[in-house]
């Protein structure tokens, strides 16, 4: 019996070794193929610090692997989705202009459902070994859509609220408190206009806090009684809107605009999906140094963002090399530095080697950035089908 197990174990370990070496040799051939390729990386380009980080990574990738990384700065990730579609329409099956896209949620579902993606590739990337899929549901379920190796995790985002301690020392810590504050201080609360993703996220956050059965949100929206389930949300918003900024006749376009309005003192509370947003803006001179960030008592919505490769990319090998580099402890550490970007790592602390752990431990946070511990209270994204349903209903009610 023991020998049987030993044999079995031996066989298994042999298998593991051979699988590993297959991976290794596969990876080597990918590295060889990638050399000299140019990867057109379509990434939202609205933040200078993120663009700088991508440039930094590009230089390292060029040096280490001989792959050229070129960032195509998008105003909106949907533009890249549109371009893949246009290329498909033009019959461009293997000479696409996009090699790598930074995306998640709706955009990923759209590409995956239309078979516009190359892969699966992500789980076989060497640096994927630092990922602990069990640690966070959003690593394998991107807004409810199974990842299936079709996109590689890049970073983690969580909603944070931003306030100026001089103007608002005790900020509201839940949706009901927020409403009470808005009623007492008309015009000082607002949120981005859905379908801007942060605006839609605000709706999800409110819905999560206002309903009893939170499990309903993880189901496709078709399976629930949308009208009844979301009723508390609309009642809440009907009360909130008359006392919002500019009496609800208009809404900011983005988190960045909210931060600007916060600094202009038009509003008292901004929020962001970027946990270091407050620190970054303070150091840029866009917010005063009395500004701090915090999250709601019940937690805030959090998700993972990814890198995907379109099916018609001309540099799939190069794109994998880039995605793998972005997953490396080195790149993830740099990315989490709030002076650089402040985007939370997707790597599992336990899976890192000792020295790497030490580097992460030693990392300084910005003055207004919360610790990972402060951020531990997170709410998962509802199934991605909720996005459209909430947006449509919101626009039907408030946008005409």
């Amino acid at each position: 019996m023991v020998t049987y197990i030993m044999k079995k174990l031996f066989a298994l370990s042999m298998l593991a070794i051979s699988v590993n070496s297959v991976y290794a040799s596969d990876w080597q051939s990918i590295l060889d193929e990638a050399k000299g390729q140019t990867v057109h990386f379509n990434a939202w380009g609205g933040a200078e610090n993120i663009n700088d980080y991508i440039e930094w990574a590009g230089n390292n990738i060029q040096e280490k692997y001989g792959v050229t990384l070129k960032q195509i700065k998008l105003v909106d990730t949907a533009d890249a989705i549109g371009r893949v579609l246009a290329e498909k329409a033009a019959g461009n099956e293997n000479d696409g202009s996009i090699d790598l896209i930074w995306l998640n949620g709706e955009n990923f579902r759209s590409l995956k459902d239309n078979n516009f993606l190359y892969g699966p590739f992500s789980t076989t990337l060497p640096n994927y070994r630092y990922i602990d899929e069990a640690s966070n549901k959003s690593l394998t379920l991107d807004f409810g859509t199974p990842v299936d190796g079709m996109e590689a995790p890049w970073g983690k985002a969580q909603v944070i609220f931003i306030h100026d301690t001089e103007i608002l020392p005790n900020p509201p810590r839940s949706m009901p408190e927020l409403l009470a504050y808005a009623k007492a201080n008309p015009g000082r609360i607002t949120y981005p206009e859905p379908p801007q993703f942060l605006g839609t996220t605000f709706l999800k956050q409110a819905l999560y806090e206002l309903i009893e059965d939170k499990e309903l949100l993880s189901q496709p929206v078709e399976n629930v009684d949308f009208k009844t389930v979301t009723k508390p949300l609309w009642t809440y918003l009907n009360e909130l809107h008359p006392v919002t900024w500019r009496s609800g006749t208009t809404y900011p376009a983005s988190s960045e605009e909210m931060i600007r309005l916060l600094d202009d003192q038009e509003i008292d509370l901004a929020f962001s999906f970027d946990t270091s947003a407050a620190s970054v803006q303070i150091s840029k001179g866009n917010l005063s140094d009395t500004v701090r960030s915090y999250i709601f008592d019940e937690g805030t919505i959090s998700n993972t963002h990814f890198l995907a490769i379109p099916y018609n990319s001309t540099a799939t090998a190069g794109a994998q090399v880039v995605a793998n580099y972005f997953l490396s402890p080195e790149a993830q550490l740099k990315k989490q530095d709030s002076e650089v970007w402040g985007d939370l790592t997707v790597l599992s602390y336990e899976k890192l080697e000792k020295e790497q752990q030490a580097l992460f431990d030693a990392q300084e946070r910005g003055m207004a950035t919360l610790t990972l511990d402060n951020l531990s209270n997170s709410i998962p994204e509802p199934h991605s089908s909720w996005v459209k349903a909430l947006e449509n209903e919101w626009r039907l009610r408030y946008a005409n």
Partner: protein
């Protein structure tokens, strides 16, 4: 003969180009887009469009803002010229036109936003609020701020166009004769000059109308957003991650196109009706039925436009060098040059791309326009097919049309090259260049050329040295306008360049979404700088061209004869 052939080829290729783009929106408007598996034609996109909650309300907003802005701009522009034609004020105004036209409209909107918003400069200057009041001064649901921004942008353009055609009308003589017959100046303008000017500027007026009805970036920045104007609504649908939204977006784009046509017809009918009704009044012989003060009152509204633009530009300048600038500070509390230092190489690259595209596309557009106009003149100025076609690039909502064209570029393999960007820029600047050149060119007194040919027997040389030389003012104006149009193009650059070719504008709009006032202000300033220079040259060069050329000739002659005599002396 050869000119006819060239003409034919140009018209044919532009027509085919447009046809592809139009099919690119019409097909998906009827649910035909094989790329995402939609092969069956249906009317569902239209049903969805008409049932969309924002459809009616955003159409109404578009109608109010677009028509009001165009009408106001036209009235103010006419009044400025009529009220101040003989005075020094007009020459001051004239000098203001180039800078205002040069500043990209997105930049003006950003400046106005900060001027007018509750935390903006006006409130800081004239009130004592400790915190910004909760007022709705911008992005108001009545589109007042959008109309204001449009009027600020369009009035200078119309004044520019009116002034450009005045020399063709013998304005001074008309005024002299009119006055000698006892008419007051306002009446001469009202009864004689304005009815003559309108037909000459009808095309630019339609451009203004189409722009006001379809503008996206300006409306995004300063227009209402719940709901937004119709063009912005379609724009949002096109950008939706859900590819199925493209169908109703395409239907919306087609609808917007038809809508604009209907507005044109109504506008023209309204004009004819007005003209018909006032015909009797115009010929009563009444010497002073309109007082000069009417024009002066309306014309002085231009002062407000001027002041707004000056303040907005100062704001852009201040933000470019600001580090910290909070409410209620009137000026930044700390300053910094870091903004410029950090971005110097980026600015170099972007400027190179921007200029290459703008200059080459405009030279091409100018040559095409001249070829078409000369051919038209030879056919005794009959309305050509092209005269009708030329409207389309401006009328077609860019978001829809460009999607159709994008497929063409990818299929032909030039997507992401300078070539495709330049082609699209020619396509979008050509109407402005052609329409600006149209009336002055056809109104040219051909006898000059006939005489020159008779004297020299060198038709090509005469054409260049007599006709084009005499028309250099409108040619330079056309180039300057085309240049600024090219600089301001965002979507065509992005779609043809496939994101691989960036210009000052694509970068500015990308960052505009980040809400970073400092860098956006800097980019807007630089973006305004190039067209500004070109506009100044367009006004200044025709004046000094001939004297300078003669002076140069004289100088060279002197040099030559000097050295000649010097040689002889030795």
């Amino acid at each position: 003969m050869s000119l006819k052939l060239v003409n034919f080829i140009i018209v044919l290729s532009i027509s085919v180009f447009m046809l592809i783009g139009i099919l690119g929106i019409i097909a998906p408007a009827f649910h035909y887009l094989p790329a995402i598996g939609a092969n069956e034609i249906s009317l569902d996109p239209w049903k969805e469009l008409f049932l969309a909650p924002e459809f009616i309300s955003s159409i109404i907003l578009t109608l109010i803002s677009g028509v009001t802005a165009t009408f106001l701009s036209l009235m103010i522009a006419f009044s400025v010229v009529a009220a101040f034609y003989d005075s020094k004020i007009l020459s001051i105004f004239r000098k203001s036109l180039a800078p205002i036209l040069a500043i990209p409209h997105a930049a003006i909107a950003i400046g106005l936003l900060f001027l007018l918003s509750p935390s903006g400069w006006l409130i800081r200057l004239f009130t004592t609020f400790e915190r910004p009041p909760n007022w709705i001064t911008i992005q108001d649901p009545y589109t007042l701020s959008l109309i204001f921004a449009l009027v600020v942008k369009e009035t200078p353009y119309l004044i520019f166009v009116i002034l450009a055609c005045l020399p063709q009308l013998k304005t001074d003589e008309t005024l002299k004769v009119g006055r000698s017959m006892g008419y007051n100046v306002a009446t001469i303008w009202q009864k004689i000059l304005l009815p003559m000017i309108y037909p000459l500027i009808r095309l630019p007026v339609f451009i203004v109308l189409a722009f006001s009805l379809t503008v996206v970036d300006l409306a995004l920045i300063i227009g209402p957003n719940t709901p937004s104007t119709f063009a912005v609504t379609i724009f949002r649908w096109f950008k939706d991650a859900d590819l199925n939204e493209r169908f109703s977006a395409s239907a919306g784009a087609v609808f917007l196109m038809l809508f604009i046509f209907v507005i044109f017809i109504i506008w023209e009918l309204a004009y004819r009706l007005l003209y018909f009704c006032s015909k009797k009044k115009l010929t009563t012989g009444n010497r002073s039925n309109l007082s000069q003060s009417f024009f002066q009152l309306l014309g002085s509204l231009y002062f407000f436009i001027l002041i707004s633009v000056i303040l907005s530009s100062i704001i852009l300048l201040l933000w470019s060098f600001a580090k910290r600038w909070r409410f209620p500070d009137i000026l930044p509390s700390t300053w910094s040059f870091r903004n410029i230092e950090r971005n110097i190489t980026l600015l170099n690259d972007l400027s190179f791309n921007t200029l290459t595209i703008a200059i080459s596309s405009n030279i091409i557009a100018l040559i095409i326009s001249l070829a078409l106009l000369e051919a038209k003149r030879q056919q005794s100025c009959k309305k050509t097919l092209f005269d009708r076609l030329i409207y389309l690039p401006i009328l077609l909502p860019q978001v829809g049309f460009l999607f159709g064209i994008q497929i063409l570029f990818i299929k032909s393999g030039i997507s992401g090259h300078f070539l495709s960007v330049i082609i699209l820029h020619v396509f979008y600047t050509l109407p402005y260049v052609y329409l600006t050149l149209h009336s002055p060119y056809l109104a040219f007194n051909q006898n000059y050329l006939v005489q020159a040919c008779a004297l020299t027997h060198k038709p090509y040389k005469s054409f260049l040295q007599i006709k084009l030389a005499m028309l250099k003012a409108p040619i330079f104006s056309a180039f300057a306008i085309g240049f600024s149009v090219s600089i301001a193009q965002y979507l065509p650059t992005l779609i043809a360049g496939n994101g691989l070719i960036n210009t000052l504008t694509t970068e500015a709009v990308t960052l505009a979404s980040s809400g970073e006032r400092k860098l956006v202000s800097l980019l807007a300033l630089i973006q305004a700088f190039f067209p500004l220079i070109v506009f100044m040259l367009a006004i200044w060069l025709p004046k000094v061209w001939t004297p300078a050329r003669l002076a140069l000739k004289h100088y060279l002659y002197m040099r030559f004869s000097d050295s000649h005599s010097y040689t002889i002396k030795n």
